[in-house]
């Protein structure tokens, strides 16, 4: 019985963490927020094997499990690191493994030389005028808030639960960037007009699993970001003096930090469990993924606010860059299902309501 990380997993998390500590400081984040160029970082992460992590060994990848990927997601969140992780390193291998037509693409993904954007947001709540229809093998419609933008290919969900692979260069595809609060994760919009796409699956369960996996990754990203905000708050409180004493000696400040820690700490085990369930507990995977993303969204929102308050006015300025984490947590909350949506899905999946 072991509820925790293997030695290999601890090493993986340490390696990624060390790489990001070296390469992603506040200056680097600011530069990315300006120019959107993460090529060097992604190259470095590719050398560590990150995009190959979930690609099966038979397809030239490392063939690890969702829990391993979740540890990487957590590290990326901790460092507010820009990287095409969700679509390229997670969704693509999960959705495309074993699909003959995607073999070459997956090899390029594993090598870090191709990027795959994720365009399945409408499956978790479609906005007016958005959504993609598949008819006679051609896709038409709009997908908003596409991750890993811009990418070479996009995984696109249709209104009936089917999944398709669309080349960015295919005829009938137009796209544009969509600015969001989170400048560390470029996001875009796809407009499709009768686009011929590679069919990936017409089984809604496949799309469902893709949602489960990516939701757990977003939760893991929030876990990392929230832990970072708590660590920064504690460090700042120990250093910052007011009324001739470190503010960390004020009971109000201590209790704010204790409340954050008390909320965050069980989330670590929860994310591990949810990621483990994706591979090993199929009957629990959906409910656990919904709960984990919803719960992390709530904890994240509380931590984002509270850690900012501990920093006082400095937390509100751009000087310490704390807001990159605040916004990262916000992005994870809103994307692919708000807490209310997820809790309702969890209730339905348990047949708690008609």
């Amino acid at each position: 019985m072991e509820f925790g990380l293997s030695q290999e997993q601890t090493m993986l998390a340490d390696n990624v963490g060390r790489y990001l500590t070296d390469r992603v400081d506040l200056e680097r984040i600011r530069r990315f927020a300006e120019d959107g160029d993460d090529a060097d970082l992604w190259q470095g992460l590719a050398e560590l094997g990150i995009p190959a992590l979930l690609v099966p060994e038979s397809a030239g990848g490392v063939g690890l499990a969702c829990l391993d990927a979740a540890l990487v997601a957590e590290a990326l969140g901790y460092h507010a690191a820009p990287a095409p992780f969700l679509g390229t390193a997670v969704a693509a291998p999960i959705a495309l493994a074993g699909l003959p037509a995607a073999e070459a693409l997956l090899a390029d993904v594993a090598a870090g030389s191709a990027r795959v954007g994720l365009a399945i947001g409408e499956a978790a709540g479609a906005r007016a005028d958005a959504g993609v229809t598949a008819r006679d093998g051609a896709l038409t419609g709009k997908a908003l808030f596409v991750t890993d933008y811009p990418a070479d290919h996009y995984l696109v969900a249709d209104r009936d639960g089917g999944l398709h692979l669309v080349a960015a260069a295919a005829a009938g595809v137009s796209h544009r960037p969509l600015t969001t609060v989170d400048r560390t994760r470029p996001t875009g919009e796809l407009t499709l007009k009768g686009v011929r796409a590679e069919p990936v699956s017409d089984d809604p369960a496949v799309l469902g699993r893709l949602l489960d996996v990516t939701r757990v990754m977003l939760a893991a990203d929030t876990l990392g970001a929230a832990q970072a905000m708590l660590d920064k708050a504690v460090a700042y409180a120990k250093e910052r003096e007011q009324f001739n004493r470190p503010i960390a000696t004020f009971q109000a400040v201590k209790h704010m930090c204790a409340e954050m820690a008390a909320d965050i700490e069980p989330c670590r085990a929860m994310v591990w469990y949810a990621a483990h369930a994706l591979d090993h507990l199929p009957e629990e995977a959906q409910v656990t993924a919904c709960h984990t993303k919803a719960h992390l969204a709530e904890v994240g929102k509380f931590v984002a606010k509270t850690a900012t308050e501990v920093h006082g006015g400095m937390g509100f300025t751009d000087l310490l860059g704390l807001h990159y984490w605040f916004k990262r947590i916000g992005y994870n909350r809103q994307l692919l299902g708000t807490p209310e949506h997820l809790r309702e899905e969890a209730a339905r999946a348990q047949q708690l309501t008609a």
Binding site: T179, D182, Q242, G313, T317, D318, Q334, H341
Partner: protein, 396 residues
Amino acid sequence: MDLSYGPEYEAFRQEVRDFIEANRDRAPKGAGLRDPATLEWQKLLIENGYAARTIPREYGGYGAEPDILKSRIIAEEFARGQLSQGLGGQGISMLVPTLLEMGTEEQKRQFIAPTLRGEMVWCQGYSEPGAGSDLASLSTSAKLDGDEWVVNGQKIWTSTAHLADWIFCLVRTEPDAPKHQGISFLLFRMDTPGIEIRPLVDMTGAANFNEVFFTDVRVPKDQIVGARGQGWAVANAILGHERDSLGNPDATLSRLNALIELMRHETIDGVPVIEHPVYRDRLMKLQGRVLAMRCNDLRVLSSRVNGTGGTGLARLINKLQGTELRHELEGFAVDVMGEIGLAYGDNPYLRGHGSWQNQYMYFLGLIIGGGTSQIQKNIISERGLGMPREPKIQKG
């Protein structure tokens, strides 16, 4: 309970409305502090008693008796008419009352009238990087050298520093005195050599504030309000005013109504968000809290109008409750929009011009600024509930 203002005030309201209708075309379109149209409009408002209403005539005001209801009616009607109520800013809202209470006759004559007319724009130099909640620990120093103060140090959170002609500034002049007794209140020109201004970007991406650096800035000795070492008392004479104005429930009500419209029009899977029972319940919870805060505000207004007491606690809690409520409301609006709630900047899917995300963050700034929620709770427990201060700490 009598929620009407009575015939005298309804007549006054009509007067204000008539003025607005008659002069609507003269109101400035933009917000340029230095626009001739802005200055003309300010002059017209003062002449008619809709700005600088209670400032004595000899200092360039309108010279009316204070009347809280009339002030409120003016504010209500200008807001209804969507017209500028004249110039604001910390010179008019903070320095003028300070000078009226603590300035010399000469200072009053020199500074108040041009400030009211918008010819002299001020910024405030209080907070420092090391002196936030503990403002009295500020360390910007001023040393007397002949007939001049020599100022060195740094201020932060200085709004309009880049636009201001003058600054009113707290500096430490008696480094050996206890911290509250070593501070002086200086006035000096922002074009004095040795002043550097750097814009301070905040989490919303805007630069509404500045950092201001002073290196051997020389200030004539008599440009001080109150005596040497009394700056803390001078600043505190009117500091309470600022806190009162944060978290205004009428503004929160407008946002709540905008939120209801948003929820009627925004859809998920084709269903308006307001038809989602969980979101509707949260909306109603907010509406109940807004109602409570509006009632609280009316109670405070009434006690000020009628000179009755008993609303000390009702005032003390306003900043804490008002800013937290507003932050929560704006954040809830982001929530109900799902992924659309992430839209920012030039995103074509922005709702309400991006105000929801923006205000969600901005009001977190207001929760922190002007006394954090932790400081507010200290104040409420001590001044409102009579609980003891924290005991003194042993040194070392």
